[in-house]
């Protein structure tokens, strides 16, 4: 059904917000995140799996908070992300652009649209980073997955996210996140209007 509201191109919307937002230097950002990861690793005594899980949790709580910001800034009501497809597009085109200034796109949509891959051109988190041997298996940017998951959950889209290709871990040359739909939580309407 073609609703009258005319959608602006999400990429443009994202870019606009990115322009609007005040920013911090990329180095500072990358290093801060790096420090975070190091600290978590230290607390976990270099237990890589535990660290991945922890990063994921951190990301999730970030996502659940940040989604509010996103909705208000883009002015897209929560219904913009009702369908999984819209949600993914929003994440790839708008959200990543406006929070990380990253150009990203979705690809590899599955047969019945419940799974796709978000491919990022760059990744400010992973700047300068090079994983030493003893940390192989560490999913450095797992917080990103967590954030996406958290944000989508906040708009009633339960998903699972995982890195499909991660240059740091030495597979693939671009960061790509595979998102899989678990379910769309039904909103509870008042029974009769």
């Amino acid at each position: 059904m073609a609703d009258g509201r005319r959608r602006t191109d999400p990429a443009i919307a994202g870019a606009r917000c990115w322009q609007g937002a005040e920013r911090c230097s990329g180095e500072l950002f990358a290093l801060t995140y790096g420090a975070l990861v190091r600290q978590i690793l230290r607390d976990r005594e270099d237990d890589v799996d535990a660290t991945n899980a922890a990063l994921e949790r951190v990301g999730r709580s970030m996502g659940t908070r940040i989604v509010e910001e996103y909705l208000s800034r883009t002015g897209a009501g929560a219904r913009a992300c009702r369908s999984f497809e819209d949600a993914c597009e929003a994440v790839a085109k708008t959200a990543l652009k406006m929070f990380l200034g990253v150009d990203a796109r979705t690809r590899d949509w599955s047969e019945d649209v419940d799974e796709c891959v978000i491919e990022m051109d760059t990744n400010p988190l992973a700047e300068f980073v090079e994983l030493p041997k003893r940390y192989e298996g560490l999913c450095y940017c797992n917080a990103l997955c967590g954030a996406i998951r958290g944000a989508l959950e906040a708009v009633r889209v339960r998903t699972t996210c995982a890195f499909e290709s991660d240059p740091l871990a030495g597979n693939g040359d671009k960061f790509a996140i595979r998102i899989k739909l678990v379910e769309i939580v039904p909103e509870e309407y008042p029974f009769d209007d």
């Binding site: 607390d43 976990r44 237990d47 899980a53 047969e111 019945d112 379910e183 039904p186 029974f191 009769d192």
Partner: protein, 1339 residues
């Protein structure tokens, strides 16, 4: 030989420049003449010779002699405060050969370099952990004390002294000693005379190099042990003095009868002695023993000192003064002053041009200048000396006399060195460098000039070596340590003797360690170079020392290659000396750093390591060794002690890897009813990994049952390039039985029949690989089991044993009682096991689960539970995900949440179940249904249960099946382990079959009646043919029941979905009165009822999970539970069902009894049309005429307008295309006539995605004006059909408005249902037509 502290360069120079006084002793002469060697008593207890006596007292202090020795400026005086004469024996005053130097030099450093024990094992081993500072301290200490360097090169220097061109070596005086015997004074005087003669015949004067004019002192020596009496000696002295030697004096030796070494003089302590030592030694005298001259009494020495003093003051100094005066005046006359410069210029150019060396006797001017310089130097008048040296150099240069030139340069350097305090260091350094460099240059020229004779080359080499060493020493003296190495290294580069090169390099290294801050890396590298040379020279001890020095310097990060090299070499050296222990240690370290080597080299290292491990073990008795430490130190293979992974007998994994599905999910499931509540309410969840009371929870134990083996995965790394086979690989455990004392296998090998057995493995690690190895251990009794570590044996010979103890890394996430961080060892890393009594263990598997499944298919699988242990397992409960699995036997009802008490029977279960009023909805976990069947109350060993289940995946993608089985042991159950669960985890990839969508429209026949349009779309990837069997509405306990009637002409035809097709089916659902109507329509050859019912059970079970339910909410809809379409594949192999949760209600019900009057529309209309339209062959479409009859129900004139909506399209399977549209919709008006007639079909219609089954053609916009009330107006219309199938005649709008003159109607902008005001037109949809939908079939 006690080697005294070596002199520093300055005192060395000073000593060597002291005026030489030759001592001629009558007795020596006799010895030489009558070949009788040393008398035996002399060799031990007596003085070597009088020389050493004089040397002991040679330095005369406290003088105050003023000398006027400058010819040109008589006023200039030099004051001598102290003078030390340099006493040489008659044969000492000759230069030696290279061979002698080699011999004595080697002898000098024999002890420190070649004596293997010089470097003892302890010292070598200490070097391994020595700290840098200690190393530096040690090195600096040794640099200043070690005698080997000087010891060796003094020989070289000594061999070069007394050569023709160094005047300071030429004796300026002599002391003639006659012995007291039975003879007359005349004889004595005669003796003096021929001693003089001997002096004149010394080789130095023989060559004419030295100036024979010297001063003489005479002494009469009375040996107290020589047999003659003292009185006689006194008397003889008087006679001699009278007889023509007036200044002769008496010296007394050996007057101390007791031989108590009264004088206490160490004869070897004195500068000259040290310098001349080399000479002494190779002149055959045995090493000076402490007993030397023990008969000398102290007043003998005093007497000698007095004599020397008087000799120096009365004879020597005046002589030097005279000589200097003469020389300087002469020099002044010949060379100084303007005219002389001029004359000498000519003179030299003619006469003195390049005079052959032989003729450069002492009379030649330059020799005299040199002599003057040296004498001046001798008495400490350095300026004069320097002036003379500078003066003479020009001469030497001009006549290519390279050797003297060089030596004069060196002398110059000596001056600089002596006067170093008067100027600043930088200048001094600059001058010294310049002097020695030019000396070196001159020497090189000398080498060239001298032809290729070997002797010559060797000689020059000696000279060079000496000058280089002097240079280095001088630099070090003025503190320029950083540059001191250069000359030494240069010399060592072109040196053929390994030993000498080694010594030089070592010296250079020491120079580095002495600078501030110490240059350790330089130090280390030069030490290594030296070490290499030492090894070649066969000086093992020295080599070991060098490498040991280098070791601490390379201790920091990196340096792999260096470390490896050092350790290997040290290992080999120690092996040669026989320090097995040390070499073992070194080989170990070597292997640690061997990763960069080629595999052959590594093999060698490894084998030598093994060899020495074995050797050590054989040599040293067990009690001496610390076997444990050795094993811990074993370098191979690398093991990750931080990371382990424990797996239990029932292959229970516990991974914390993925946060969303994993432990948490299982926890939820197990708490979701399968495990009885009262068991769950234990300290921690009765999950059998983290079970155990609080107190054990502190040290974080895991629970296991005795008799079941625990598997521990350990990670090994093989750093080498060759495969590594490990034998006897086993876990180290420590077991505390519940009764009985602690036991362990730490000690040695497995003891058979112990309460715990660790399985022994044998594995081979691939080169440069990391591998996880699974070790298992089995406790046979209850108690606490700790897994301590791992032990193994590497290599072919069993000697290389290794072991490690676990230190599991765990996150510190909890605060302890007093705020410190506590480790939370994750469950799969816990190594303390709480072994409880034997438990029953069951295994459960799913049979017949396909890897691939079709979406919605129905499959029968079996769950098999069997008890693999002896004891009985009780009260088995199974939890199924009811959305995917349900029991085949419908009589199996899931339980609610029964309260299970200890030894409760199964009836209690059921009672609890029924009592709990269990509808499936109030189960704890959303998708779980728990079953507990009566026949599962007891499960003996070896009697498997087979439970048939339906498997019905209903979502495309990866369907995960989690089944959880819970059972309990016979009561009383062990406290720690009240129950067990089995987790079954299956993944099935579900491929899409076809997608079903449904929409319902109200049907006018009855307010609740609906027409449902099913559109079934085969998945794009699908190749199967699906045969639609039946359609069934989701049942509803309360509320209307329906009868289903297909609105299809031939109901008998079976519905088939071919790949890529979409078919549509229309069903009319009309409400019926009988309450148990099967709301079901079977197409021909429907599937078996029981399957259908089971499928329907699935459909019903997940009521309430409709995802998009809200679309239908509040619309007065009727089909709330969706509907189910059963199907079978064309070949009938598979049956299944698609479930449609949400039937979209298209639009409000049209006029019905319910509709209020105001809502009724003024126009009723219907359409006359052929219900079946035959498709014409060889044509893409068929036209057909229909008539729309519209009746004005209202009571006023209406304008009715029919508009075919061109854009509306119903999805359909278009076999051969649809009709193409123009851009603008108005094209329809102009298209009226241009429509091709049947017979002249030219162009095939262009496919119009998604294609239309039919479109309105012909005039598609008709207006009927002024239709009177009650009048029926007929619109003749035409449709063109393209597609076979059942279609609804729609895609138009009918609109009307009260007609008035000049009223223009614009339907497009009209908003539907806009109130009831007149002017605005009213628009109606096809669905609003009474009797709609109008369905026709194209065949």
């Amino acid at each position: 030989m006690s080697s005294p502290r070596p002199l520093d360069a300055a005192s060395r120079v000073r000593a060597s420049h002291a005026p030489v006084v030759c001592v001629l002793d009558e007795r020596e002469v006799d010895r030489r003449t009558d070949g009788s060697g040393f008398s035996e008593d002399a060799s031990t207890s007596e003085l070597k010779s009088l020389v050493s006596l004089f040397r002991a007292v040679s330095s005369v202090k406290g003088l105050n002699e003023t000398l006027r020795c400058d010819g040109e400026r008589a006023s200039k005086v030099t004051i001598v405060r102290e003078l030390r004469a340099r006493f040489v024996s008659e044969d000492g005053a000759t230069s030696g050969t290279r061979a002698d130097a080699e011999a004595s030099g080697t002898a000098a450093c024999e002890k420190e370099c070649f004596n293997a024990q010089a470097m003892n094992e302890r010292a070598v081993m200490d070097a391994r952990e020595e700290s840098l500072d200690d190393c530096v301290r040690r090195a600096r200490e040794e640099a200043t004390t070690s005698g080997r360097f000087n010891g060796y090169f003094d020989a070289n220097a000594r061999a070069l002294t007394f050569n023709e061109c160094e005047a300071f070596d030429h004796p300026v005086g002599a002391i003639l000693c006659a012995r007291v015997r039975e003879r007359t004074a005349e004889d004595v005087v005669r003796v003096f005379e021929d001693l003089k003669g001997r002096f004149r015949r010394l080789p130095v004067f023989g060559t004419g190099a030295g100036d024979p004019e010297a001063c003489f002192g005479m002494a009469l020596v009375w040996d107290a042990r020589g047999g003659t009496s003292r009185e006689r000696a006194e008397e003889l002295l008087k006679n001699v003095q009278r007889a023509g030697a007036p200044d002769c004096e008496l010296l007394i030796v050996n007057s101390d009868e007791s031989g108590s070494f009264a004088s206490g003089v160490l004869w070897s302590e004195h500068a000259e002695t040290i310098i001349a030592r080399a000479a002494i030694e190779h002149s055959g005298a045995s090493a000076s023993s402490a007993a030397e001259g023990k008969y000398m009494s102290s007043d003998d020495v005093e007497r000698a000192r007095a004599y020397v003093r008087s000799f120096v003051t009365r004879t020597l100094i005046p002589h030097i003064e005279r000589k200097l005066f003469a020389l300087s005046t002469q020099i002044y006359n010949t060379r100084k002053g303007f005219k002389n410069q001029f004359k000498s210029f000519w003179g030299r150019s003619t006469t003195t041009a390049s005079r052959p060396e032989a003729e450069r006797g002492y009379r030649s001017p330059e020799s005299q200048i040199r002599l003057a310089g040296d004498l001046a130097f001798g008495i400490g008048d350095y300026e004069t000396a320097l002036a003379h040296y500078k003066l003479v150099q020009s001469d030497y240069k001009s006549q290519n006399a390279w050797k003297p030139l060089a030596s004069s340069y060196e002398a110059m350097a000596h001056v600089y060195l002596m006067t170093r305090h008067t100027r600043n260091t930088v200048d001094v350094k600059k001058d010294i460098d310049h002097a020695y460099d030019s000396a070196m240059l001159a020497l090189s020229k000398y080498e060239l000039s001298g032809g290729h004779s070997d002797i010559h080359r060797v000689h020059v080499e000696m000279l060079k070596t000496r000058s280089a060493i002097e240079h280095a020493e001088a630099l070090q003296l003025i503190g320029a340590y950083r540059d001191a190495h250069a000359p030494l290294v240069v010399i060592s580069a072109f040196d053929d003797s390994e030993l000498r090169a080694a010594l030089l390099l070592e010296r250079a290294a020491f120079a580095f360690v002495r600078c501030e801050p110490p240059m350790l890396r330089k130090f280390a590298s030069y030490m290594v170079l030296a070490g290499v040379r030492y090894v070649r020279a066969g000086a093992i001890a020295a080599a070991t020392r060098c490498y040991a020095y280098a070791l601490p310097a390379t201790s920091d990060h990196g340096w792999n290659a260096a470390k490896e090299h050092l350790n290997t070499t040290l290992g080999q050296l120690c092996a040669r000396v026989g320090y097995t222990r040390a070499s073992l240690e070194f080989f170990r370290d070597a292997v640690k750093h061997a990763s960069h080597l080629t595999d052959d080299e590594q093999r060698v290292r490894l084998s030598s390591l093994e060899e020495y491990a074995g050797k050590y073990e054989k040599e040293t008795p067990a009690e001496k060794r610390d076997a444990m430490a050795d094993e811990l130190a074993c370098p191979l293979p690398g093991m990750n002690i931080k990371n382990v992974h424990v797996t239990f007998a029932d292959d229970r994994e516990s991974s914390e890897s993925s946060a969303d599905n994993g432990e948490e999910a299982w926890e939820a499931i197990e708490r979701g009813g399968v495990v009885p509540q009262n068991l769950l309410s234990g300290a921690t969840g009765a999950n059998w990994l983290n079970n155990g009371g609080r107190k054990i929870e502190i040290d974080q134990t895991a629970v296991c049952a005795s008799g079941e083996d625990v598997k521990v995965d350990v990670e090994f790394t093989n750093p080498l390039r060759l495969p590594l086979d490990m034998k006897n690989l086993r876990l180290l455990w420590e077991f505390t039985p519940s009764l009985g004392e602690i036991m362990t296998n730490e000690g040695g090998s497995e003891s058979i029949g112990s309460l715990v057995e660790a399985k022994v493995e044998e594995v081979t690690l691939a080169p440069e690989s990391t591998r996880e190895i699974r070790l298992s251990i089995t406790p046979h009794s209850s108690g606490i089991l700790r897994v301590r570590g791992v032990a193994w044996t590497v290599g072919t010979t069993g000697f290389l044993r290794g072991r490690r103890h676990f230190d599991v890394a765990a996150p510190r996430t909890r605060r302890g009682p007093d705020g410190e961080w506590l480790r939370d060892v994750p469950k799969h890393k816990r190594l303390i096991f709480n072994v409880c009594e034997t438990m029953p263990r069951c295994e459960a598997t799913l049979e017949g689960v396909p890897a691939q499944a079709l979406d919605g298919e129905l499959r029968r699988i079996d769950l098999i539970i069997s008890n693999v242990t002896q004891p009985m397992a009780k009260w088995i409960r199974v939890r199924l995900p009811k959305s995917v699995l349900r029991p085949v036997d419908v009589s199996h009802v899931p339980l609610g949440e029964p309260a299970i008490h200890r030894n409760a029977s199964h009836d209690d279960f059921v009672r609890g179940a029924t009592g709990g009023g269990n509808s499936e909805d109030n189960l704890l976990d959303g998708d779980g249904a728990v079953y507990a069947l009566s026949e599962w109350e007891n499960l003996g060993s070896g009697s498997p249960i087979r439970w048939p289940l339906w498997f019905h995946p209903r979502a495309v993608g990866r369907a995960t099946v989690r089944i959880c089985v819970c059972y309990q042991p016979e009561p009383p159950a062990p406290k720690l382990l009240t129950h067990r669960t089995i987790r079954i985890f299956e993944r099935v990839d579900v491929a899409p079959s076809f997608s079903a969508r449904a929409s319902s429209m109200p049907s006018p026949s009855h307010p609740l009646a609906r027409v449902v349009r099913l559109s079934l779309k085969s998945a794009s990837t699908q190749t199967k043919v699906f045969d639609i069997e039946s359609v069934r509405l989701g049942s509803r306990k309360d509320g209307v029941k329906y009868n289903l009637v297909p609105l299809v002409k031939d109901a008998s035809a079976s519905r088939v979905i071919r790949p890529g097709e979409t078919i549509e089916t229309l069903l009319k659902c009309s409400p019926t009165s009988d309450t148990n109507a099967s709301e079901l329509f079977d197409f021909p050859n429907a599937i078996l009822a029981e399957r259908a019912t089971s499928l329907f059970a699935f459909h019903d079970s997940d009521r309430g999970q409709a995802t998009m339910k809200h679309f239908a909410k509040g619309r007065g809809d009727v089909i709330t539970n969706g509907l189910m379409v059963t199907w079978s594949t064309g070949d009938g192999a598979l049956v299944g069902a698609q479930h449609i949760r949400d039937v979209v209600e298209l639009s409000r019900c049209a006029d019905t009894a319910r509709t209020p009057f105001s809502q009724r529309s003024e126009v009723f209309w219907t359409i006359d049309y052929p219900s079946i339209i035959k498709m014409r062959q060889n044509s893409s479409f068929t036209q057909s005429n229909v008539v729309l009859k519209a009746r004005n129900e209202s009571d006023e004139m209406l304008d009715i307008e029919f508009v075919a909506d061109a854009t509306r399209s119903a999805p359909a399977n278009v076999e051969n295309g649809g009709w193409s549209l123009d851009k603008d919709e108005n094209a329809w008006q102009n298209r009226e006539t241009s429509f091709p007639s049947d017979d002249q079909v030219r162009r095939r219609p262009i496919p119009l995605p998604p294609g239309k089954p039919f479109i309105w053609v012909g005039p598609v916009r008709r207006v009927a004006r002024n239709v009177a009330p009650g009048q029926v107006f007929e619109f003749p219309l035409t449709i063109a059909c393209f597609a076979k199938g059942d279609h609804i005649l729609d895609g138009y709008t009918l609109s009307w408005s009260t007609s008035s003159k000049n009223l223009t109607v614009n339907t497009m902008t009209a908003s539907p249902r806009a109130g009831r005001e007149h002017s605005a037109p009213r628009v109606a949809d096809p669905a609003d037509a009474p009797g709609a939908p109008h369905v026709f079939t194209v065949v």
